[in-house]
């Protein structure tokens, strides 16, 4: 299973392009159908995904590969089998980096300074398109509505803003989704070093839920690691907001309950009877010790 993906596809590592890889995969797939031979198909699929990853990486960063092409035969072989998950990771990150570079850079009023620093190289080539301008304008409007001294915008205000014909397309929606999340993350201290949730005065539970209802961050985390991380942060923000909006007495009581509630919990953890194992078993206490590096056979 950890054999070289290019060998399995019958290709030469140095010259194979993504198109070659797809073609080779398609040919082999027709004699390795998923319903016939599960194991063979899974091996072929893995080889295809790994080879494609490497080819994409090579196309994106040809310099990296030219330098050490001499020992590539040996090196990449081991690299590919020891670190495919790392590869996958970097791919998504690259995608995101470019995503953020082209779409996020000019926006999020509060975040501007940070981002300029982050994306300096891209900054020179950056020419705002009509698309970017529309998103910029919408973010500006949202920003103004959010910090308005007259209180946070209502659901109807947000609907009017987001359901504008100019912003209804799926690409606009995606870009806005990124922008608004970034804005919220920035405003709540995601980028701050303390790692604590900060709640700006304008952010209410209702407003948060309206925005989340529009974009669905909390319920449907993305499968891109960076996005998932931000969505998890927003979940924490939601919990903090909940806590914040509770009356003082309720909070006090809860905190007291929590502290008291935890004290009797401690003896549970220590073995105190013959059926402790049953109790623990029923309490589903599992802990991941080792994440296999590769999904298969790790």
């Amino acid at each position: 299973m950890s054999s070289d993906p290019f060998t399995l596809l019958g290709l030469d590592r140095k010259t194979a392009t993504e198109a070659n890889i797809r073609k080779a995969y398609a040919e082999r797939l027709k004699v390795t159908r998923p319903e016939d031979d599960r194991a063979a198909f899974m091996a072929l699929r893995e080889a295809f995904e790994r080879a494609r990853q490497e080819a994409r990486w090579r196309a994106e960063y040809p310099a990296d590969y030219e330098e050490d092409d001499e020992d590539a035969e040996v090196e990449t072989g081991t690299e590919a089998c020891s670190d495919p998950s790392g590869d996958g990771h970097s791919e998504t990150l690259t995608e995101q980096a470019s995503d953020t570079a082209t779409r996020t850079a000019p926006l999020a009023p509060n975040a501007e300074d940070d981002q300029d620093a982050d994306f300096d190289e891209e900054e020179e080539e950056y020419v705002p398109t009509d698309f970017d301008r529309r998103i910029d304008a919408a973010m500006q409007k949202l920003h103004e509505a959010l910090i308005s001294p007259w209180g946070p915008p209502s659901r109807a205000d947000l609907d009017a803003l987001f359901n504008h014909p100019e912003l209804e397309g799926i690409d606009e929606y995606r870009a806005l989704q990124w922008q608004v999340r970034n804005y919220l993350c920035h405003a709540t201290g995601y980028y701050a070093e303390t790692g604590d949730v900060q709640l700006p005065g304008w952010l209410t539970v209702r407003l948060f839920d309206d925005l989340d209802g529009q974009f669905g961050w909390v319920r449907q985390p993305s499968n891109h690691p960076a996005e998932r991380h931000m969505n998890a942060w927003l979940r924490r923000v939601r919990e903090a907001l909940d806590w914040h909006e509770m009356p003082q007495e309720v909070r006090k009581q809860r905190e007291l309950d929590r502290l008291l509630g935890r004290t009797p919990e401690n003896p549970k953890g220590t073995p105190d009877g013959s059926n402790t194992w049953l109790y623990i078993g029923a309490g589903i206490l599992l802990f991941v010790v080792l994440r296999a590096l590769t999904g298969i056979g790790g």
Partner: protein, 569 residues
């Protein structure tokens, strides 16, 4: 070509279809009434025999206590429907529909059929998928494979141009479920890149919303009306909904307490009351696109599937999202069944499909519950640890190692979940596995957990303690919505004992049911006229003269379609 016949079935919320793969491609099989769409409705007839399809659907209006429909929505739950004295599980009701489709296919092919490819919503979870397989078993069918509905639709479209290199988006809004899939086609390979959806959103929800609105117009509350009146109001709402796909305004009459009351609904008003439902359509589309890392321009084709995509509001939304019109060159009601037949052809190794391969993905993330450390000796349970990420190509197999929290633990209770939330409470529990650990305190208590997902989207879980090397397989017991082996066998016996209406008498039963429904829904002269026809037809039936009965049916058919064309249901 092999001798074993495999049929393709679209088991829908509202309608079901069966198709076979023949030399010139997939073909829909007509039922006893000569129609390709069999309403997914089941009920008892006057003679105590079970009726399936159109006759049962029409009897929903006149005999709501003996008839039921839309049971696909309850698949994977323990919700039982009472028809007369007997309670039916959703699997059993589905089995009756499947059995009727199977009989149609056997009549068409002239031989026995024992194997089928059945389509399910891509967003059906493991429990719902297993329930579908149980339903097929009840109907005497072996499931060769479950195929996701949007994938099936894409197969039907993809076959039109096998060598094309294209990316397409399939938006499938059926009677009760919503799916979005993105597929890529290259050199005969049909690859699903991403799927998303909502298992509880469909055309029926739009009908319900409209029925509530009509009730409001008429000043009636659901609790004030009899089941029969409610069923009629809903049927009227459904008809108006269909009219709105063609016209800007739909009107009808609702007969209540011997009085005909006019109702009307405009397209604008309909859009307004269904706005929330439309919003729910948006999120899965957005998620599929972002999972596949695509932009609107990367999609070559946008295909709509499912009868509910005929609604202008839905088409309008897709057009606005992608800035172009979706295509539907194959009838959206037929395309899934045709695709299921293509998959059946693939499974049967039909020569015409030699150069086509399809790979699908699992639309959900699968994992298990873990505790995460909060501090020294402090653990918080309830966290979800993913093992197979959503949109992984299936079949797929992934393994991971887990350890007990405490070295003296004698057992690990592995809770298996499906979903996207980082907390298990928001995900679907699909089973549990108790893994015994060695008693020895010094033993290695690590357990290897392996999930294997097959092409039908069914999960198999194995757990192997490293110390004992004894592999355990998942036995799902006590999960809400699933049946044990013993239960399945018992129910199967009961089902075989049911008297099913003979296939050749279905046409007569359907005509009578239609006449009765029309009678209920009309007034005055028209009503008398229909009553008269009904009596005449029953008289003809008593002659047992096939020829005469057939002629009478043809005549009534004509009269009825005229009535139905007007405003009488």
């Amino acid at each position: 070509m092999s001798d074993k016949a495999i049929i393709g079935i679209d088991l829908g919320t509202t309608n079901s279809l069966v198709a076979v793969f023949e030399a010139d491609g997939p073909t829909l099989v007509p039922n006893a009434l000569g129609e390709v769409m069999t309403p997914s409705a089941v009920g008892y007839g006057d003679d105590g025999a079970v009726l399936v399809g159109r006759a049962a659907r029409d009897r929903l209006l006149t005999h709501p206590d003996l008839t039921t429909a839309r049971f696909k929505r309850y698949m994977g739950t323990n919700h039982e429907v009472k028809l007369g004295k007997k309670s039916f599980r959703p699997e059993e009701l589905s089995a009756l529909v499947l059995g009727s489709l199977r009989a149609d296919a056997e009549a068409h092919l002239g031989r026995k059929v024992e194997e089928a490819v059945i389509s399910v919503p891509a967003y059906f979870n493991d429990i719902q998928r297993k329930a579908t397989i149980t339903a097929a078993e009840f109907a005497g069918l072996k499931v060769n494979r479950l195929v996701n509905e949007p994938t099936a639709a894409a197969l039907a479209y993809g076959l039109q141009d096998k060598e094309a290199e294209s990316t397409f988006l399939v938006v499938d809004l059926g009677g009760g479920t919503f799916d979005v899939s993105i597929l890529e086609m290259f050199s005969g390979v049909m690859e699903v890149r991403a799927s998303a959806g909502d298992a509880f959103l469909g055309g029926e929800d739009f009908t319900d919303t409209l029925a509530t609105e009509l009730g409001r117009q008429l000043g009636i509350q659901p609790k004030d009306v009899s089941r029969e009146e409610g069923a009629r109001l809903r049927a009227l709402a459904n008809r108006l909904k269909h009219q709105l796909s063609e016209k800007a305004e739909a009107t009808g009459e609702y007969v209540i307490k011997g009085e005909a009351r006019p109702v009307s609904i405009s397209r604008e008003k309909f859009d307004e009351i269904t706005d929330e439902l439309l919003k729910r359509l948006r999120m899965p589309i957005q998620r599929a696109i972002s999972d596949a890392s695509l932009r609107a321009d990367d999609l070559h084709r946008i295909i709509t599937v499912g009868g509910a995509t005929r609604m202008q509001a839905v088409r309008g939304l897709i057009t606005r999202l992608f800035k172009r019109f979706p295509e539907h060159s194959i009838d959206p009601d037929h395309v899934v069944a045709l695709g299921a037949a293509v998959q059946a052809g693939l499974a049967a190794r039909h020569a015409a499909l030699d150069d086509v391969v399809m790979t699908d993905v699992c639309p959900f993330t699968l994992g298990y519950e873990v505790s995460v450390p909060l501090g020294p000796n402090q653990w918080e349970p309830g966290h979800f640890s993913p093992l197979i990420e959503r949109n992984t190509v299936v079949p797929a197999s992934r393994a991971n190692e887990i350890s007990p929290l405490e070295q003296h633990q004698r057992e690990i209770n592995l809770m298996i979940y499906q979903g996207e939330s980082p907390f298990v409470r928001d995900n679907v529990r699909i089973g549990q596995l108790r893994v015994p650990l060695p008693a020895d305190l010094k033993a290695d208590k690590t357990v290897e957990v392996r999930y294997t997902y097959d092409t039908s989207g069914i999960l198999e879980v194995e757990a192997t303690p490293v110390a004992t090397k004894k592999t355990l397989r998942l036995v799902i017991e006590g999960t809400p919505g699933t049946m044990t082996r013993a239960e399945i066998d018992k129910r199967l016996k009961e089902l075989t004992a049911l008297k099913i209406h003979p296939r050749d008498e279905q046409e007569n039963a359907a005509i009578i049911a239609r006449l009765r429904a029309a009678y209920e829904n009309s007034l005055g002269d028209q009503r008398q006229h229909i009553g008269h026809i009904l009596a005449q037809f029953e008289a003809v039936l008593h002659t047992h003269d096939k020829r005469q009965i057939q002629d009478a049916r043809a005549q009534i058919e004509e009269i009825l379609s005229r009535f139905e064309g007007e405003d009488v249901f």
